[in-house]
Amino acid sequence: MRLSDRASDLPESGIRKFFELAEARDDVISLGVGEPDFSAPWAARTAAIDSLERGKTSYTSNRGMAALRERIAAHHERYDQSYDPTDEVLVTTGASEAVDLAFRALVDPGDTVAVHEPTYISYGPGIELAGGEQLTVPTRAEDDFALTREALEASGAADADLLVCCYPNNPTGATMTEEEYAEVAAFCRDEDLRVIADEIYAALTYGADHASIATRPGMRERTVVVNGFSKAYAMTGLRLGYALGPSEAIDAMNRIHQYTMLSAPTTPQYAAIEALDRCDDEVQEMIDEYNRRRRLVVSRFNEMGLDTFEPGGAFYAFPDCGGDDEAFAEELLEAQGVAVVPGSVFGAGGEGHLRVSYATSMRELKEATDRIATFVENR
């Protein structure tokens, strides 16, 4: 069948190759997984089951159930983000849909979208599908992969129309402080950039509260915040996310959403209400456990001589492997049966690094880091 040029031109994800290599073996400990190893809190799961038993299987409002939007708005007060649940919140099928809708609602053909890298792999294709062009803003290991005004200026982002910000960051685990955001926000105001802030890992920060670019002065009106239930509530497979933003942006996104998705799936919306009402303690337990693993993994990599900065969020460490990251990852898998993802898969600035997910049990993390230490010694 003849395919559209648009579809044909989309590149294969660089992660695919490592997935296939890892799948070909059955003795692999994987530190390559980008989702929690916990299951969704049991209370949230029972709420989903209960909704099915009560026959709640019809569509919801396009924007998502009002009861859920109210709770989402209330939940975001903890990040000093204030949004009206009636017209500034849109519930989507995963945060991925929210990102896609934001691109389609905010990008005109020929627009330039600045994206800091290394970062999550879906923005480039999303921009391309919306007819825009990506401008890459490399972040640097010496800045602990934070986005700086200097990096934005050096890459020509002043001419861009939009900026994508993803902190806490996948793959680096980097976070941004309010001070760091202040200079990025000033740049966005000076150069009239709108922002899509993917904050899916906002709940998973260690030692410091999550900071959002949307709460810097003058930024709320030019920012769409994307978040969801996948990471904090371990609900990846339930596919539920949302966008928060000024009503004209959310209206525009909802116009597309109503034709393409109609509404986010109903069952997960019931689970999400329960998650927001009753699952803070379970989320905190997950955060505490991730934090213990994070410290262990970072200290073990530094001990074995792979320089690793202290990641402030998400569940990734980003050690410097001192050379060709793809070769390192392939040889490590071959020699020791440990899967990690080469940093270069995540774009400029990721080369020479490895994304190490610590969303796996402490026992496996210890075994995997022991094997990596052996590999590094013998290499």
């Binding site: 997935f19 799948e23 390559g32 980008g34 989702e35 190893d37 999550y120 792999i121 262990l296 402490m362």
Partner: protein, 162 residues
């Protein structure tokens, strides 16, 4: 969170963590971890370290029972004195004073059901303060010490994902 609490949280999940790993997980140095463990033990916060055992999987395993015990107290004898006497029996694995319909919940371990029955009828029931016992044999244990007893590896996530 103070150092002792952080160390306690790690030990409560896995008492076999070595000091260096606890230090790595908590961000404390190894000496501070050792001091915290010493303090927890000295203050009787940590009374011991044990394996969580699924006795059903052990050849010649053990029988467990939960025994409800009601007691009658008098001027000279309070719960503390009765508890002290019950706790001294090696067959008593755990002993709790509880609210509700009975006074003590006792977890008893024995080699056989007869062992446990004999222990209750010959040692516990005859105690002058004990007015009633109800023994519940544990048929199956699904979770103990916060650990779900199952065969385990049901991680069905993709091995590598973005």
């Amino acid at each position: 969170m103070d150092a002792e609490r952080e160390v306690l949280d790690v030990l409560a999940r896995n008492a076999r963590e070595d000091i260096d790993d606890i230090a790595a997980q908590t961000g404390l140095d190894a000496d501070a971890v050792a001091d915290a463990i010493d303090a927890l033990e000295a203050d009787n916060v940590v009374h011991g370290y044990q394996a969580v055992v699924d006795w059903d999987r052990v050849d010649e395993g053990k029988i467990r029972a939960v025994v409800e015990i009601n007691v009658e107290l008098d001027r000279e004898t309070g719960y503390e004195q009765v508890a002290d006497r019950i706790a001294k029996f090696p067959a008593v694995d755990a002993l709790h004073l509880v609210s509700g319909d009975y006074d003590f919940a006792v977890e008893v371990l024995g080699e056989t059901m007869q062992d446990v029955s004999r222990f209750i009828s010959e040692q516990v029931a005859p105690m002058p303060e004990v007015t009633q016992t109800v023994t519940h044999y544990i048929m199956e244990t699904y979770k103990d010490g916060g650990i779900r007893f199952e065969d385990g590896d049901d991680d069905d996530r993709l091995s590598v994902s973005p």
